[in-house]
């Protein structure tokens, strides 16, 4: 007994935790295997019978997981691009070109104390960032990334999108209300006023497009824009794009409409009392929102995952790896080696100062680049969803760049200017856009 108690005392705290966890893990693993072995077939049958639900859960999980690297990437882009525009170098220490700095920021926020002030409503206080974050993630669910790569395609996608992204106001209000701080409450109300005001022109600017497309199904809207880039809706709805762009900027609380959390002016607005990861979620949601509005802008007005030009000649890649038999194994086993030697030889022969191992490293890198390029080109040509996802990401990050660029340039507006602009300019303009579109449709249909 004494031996056991002394041994227990010698363990550090992580040691004690691990000591208790390891048997639990073993039991859990064994139990899981046993359940799969004993009940595998009924479980599979149940899952197969409820395939839509399984698909939905999987899609939500993937989208939720996808937002994290996206947010990290956009935070890094923001730091780096604004630094370059300020003639600074920006992050350059962690990772290649400092690209892991945002991850370090995330870890830092995660490790900070998650403080709950006295007097707050703990339940609402805790759920507010969750609501804000989930509103972003759920809105991302209906954005088609490529042909067939969409979380959930259904015919009211656009309506769903605006409904869910409007839900973030609730989160902001919850945060402001539950903080037990009159300034937080004011900040929450103010951001709610802003988001609600810009929700109206944002939605109205898209109604013209819905009239044109005749559907609210985002996938169909994208398919309508296939072909040359002149088929994109941006050329039929220029005013709508402009209004959508401005309103979406305000909706995502980006400069020049970032009054919600004007870092340099008010004390973080609704997020005054937040710290640690609960605070981090608000910011994650902001950057996910940037991605979402860029993605939606691309999807609705800039052709979505369609290439700006149709592929000029029909390509038939009838490459069936299965038909190669033993040749496939040889290709996988020997191809990289042969390619490495092939790329290494000229360097080794060219200069006596390059040693054999250096030439081999160069050859290995070049061979990898070659293989990746080859496979990428094959995937681009052969698999249309790869081409689609590449085009979609290219366009989306172009707009993300634009938003960051605006943040690096434009000064913040005042709250009265913000409201004036929404109600006196954007709302009439979006109504005008709607009227013109409807009239044009009637005229075109009458002529036909």
């Amino acid at each position: 007994m004494t031996v056991i108690s002394r041994g227990w005392d010698r363990l550090t705290l992580p040691g004690k935790v691990l000591f208790l966890l390891i048997p639990l893990l073993i039991v859990a693993t064994v139990g899981l295997v046993a359940v799969i072995v004993l009940l595998g077939q009924p479980i599979l049958d149940t899952l197969a019978a409820n395939l839509p639900i399984v698909r939905f859960v999987l899609a939500v999980t993937i989208v939720l997981l996808m937002t994290i690297p996206t947010a990290f990437l956009i935070i890094y882009m923001e730091m780096k691009i604004i630094a370059l525009m300020n003639l600074r170098i920006g992050p350059d220490r962690v990772g290649p070109f400092g690209s892991l700095l945002s991850v370090v920021h995330g870890l830092k926020v995660l490790m900070k104390e998650d403080f709950t002030p006295t007097g707050v409503d703990p339940i609402v206080f805790t759920w507010a960032p969750v609501v804000v974050y989930l509103a972003s993630v759920m809105a991302l669910l209906v954005v088609p990334f490529s042909n067939g790569i969409v979380g959930q395609a259904f015919n009211l996608g656009l309506l769903y999108f605006f409904a869910i992204s409007g839900l973030s106001v609730v989160g902001l209000l919850m945060a402001g209300w539950s903080s037990y701080n009159k300034y937080s409450l004011l900040g929450g109300l103010r951001s709610a006023a802003q988001v609600v005001s810009y929700e109206i022109p944002l939605t109205l600017s898209v109604v013209g497009l819905i009239l044109l497309a005749g559907t609210m199904n985002i996938d169909t809207i994208v398919r309508n824009q296939a072909g040359w880039f002149t088929d994109w809706y941006v050329f039929q709805q220029p005013l709508g794009v402009l209004i959508f762009f401005i309103a979406a900027t305000a909706e995502a609380n980006r400069t020049p409409f970032d009054l919600t959390e004007a870092d340099s002016e008010i004390v973080a607005g609704f997020a005054t009392e937040y710290s640690g990861m609960r605070f981090g979620f608000f910011f994650f949601a902001e950057y996910v929102n940037v991605f979402i509005i860029s993605a939606l802008l691309v999807t609705l007005f800039f052709g979505g995952w369609n290439a700006p030009f149709p592929w000029p000649w029909p390509v038939e890649l009838s490459l069936d790896p299965g038909s190669m038999g033993i040749g496939l194994l040889l290709l996988i086993g020997l191809g990289p080696v042969v390619l490495t030697l092939l790329f290494a030889t000229p360097f080794w022969l060219a200069s006596s100062r390059i040693k054999a191992w250096q030439a081999l490293i160069i050859g290995f890198v070049l061979a990898n680049l070659f293989i990746v390029t080859l496979v990428g080109a094959w995937a681009y040509v052969g698999l249309d969803w790869v081409a689609g996802i590449l085009w979609f990401m290219f366009k989306t990050y172009g707009f993300v760049f634009t938003f960051v660029w605006m943040r690096g340039t434009l000064p913040r507006v005042r709250i009265d200017q913000l409201m004036d602009f929404a109600w006196k300019w954007l709302l009439p303009a979006s109504l005008l856009n709607l009227f013109i579109t409807a009239a044009a449709l009637v005229v075109v249909k009458g002529l036909r």
């Binding site: 525009m85 003639l87 660029w405 605006m406 434009l410």
Partner: protein, 225 residues
């Protein structure tokens, strides 16, 4: 409001986009260090050797090298040792205070008993003319100036510096190097003169004394002009 709405926004965006591609001005400090600016001279500091003795020998080279003549030095500490002050004259102005002067054993100027005496520079100009304003004859100029004024007034030194083109610090260094050159009037005669000037009845007393004693060859009696 510009002629085209949104032109200002576009201009600003174009500016930041141009900056985006321009070379960056950041200096990656620990790896990369730029040279100090050519006029930077660092902070004034006197170094001590390993025995704790001041290394400064008051050669005045630093004062001569100083481009704005802000370095000056001099002073005596409480034990009569030559104590070196350094830096701009303003930074050690405390030695001009009465207590500092008393500690250093210098004559304490008393504004009440030392009215301002303007120095007649005509004599000095003549001396400078004799030496053709040549700074190479500095020692002779200084000696003749002291012979003319009894000491080296600051106003005279300034005049010499201005006329010969020699740095004031150099003249000051030369003058303070030689023991027979002094910056203040000889104390014994000067103070008695002043005391006499401010005691108008003394002459009467002395005259009465002389009359009573029948002679005027008392020691220490200042020569009257």
């Amino acid at each position: 409001m510009s002629l085209i709405p949104g032109l200002g926004l576009a201009k600003g965006m174009a500016l930041t986009l141009r900056r985006f591609f321009e070379p960056k001005v950041t200096i990656m400090y620990p790896e990369e260090r730029i040279d100090v600016p050519p006029k930077f001279r660092g902070r004034l500091q006197l170094l001590y050797d390993e025995w704790g003795t001041l290394k400064c020998e008051t050669c005045f080279q630093c004062a001569q090298a100083c481009p704005i003549e802000c370095i000056d030095m001099g002073g005596i500490d409480t034990r009569g040792r030559y104590h070196v002050h350094w830096g701009a004259a303003e930074t050690y102005g405390e030695r001009r205070e009465e207590s500092a002067l008393r500690r250093s054993g210098r004559p304490v100027p008393d504004p009440a008993f030392r009215p301002f005496q303007p120095v007649d520079l005509g004599e000095l100009d003549r001396i400078l003319e004799d030496h053709d304003h040549d700074p190479a004859d500095m020692l002779q100029i200084l000696e003749e100036t002291q012979a003319a004024y009894g000491y080296l007034p600051v106003a005279a030194l300034k005049r010499i510096s201005h006329e010969t083109g020699a740095w004031y610090a150099m003249i000051y260094g030369t003058a303070s190097y030689y023991a027979h050159l002094r910056f203040e009037p000889a104390a014994s005669t000067e103070q008695a003169q002043e005391v006499a000037d401010h005691r108008p009845l003394e002459a009467t007393y002395l005259a009465a004394l002389d009359a009573a004693l029948g002679g005027s060859d008392r020691p220490g009696t200042p020569a009257r002009a």
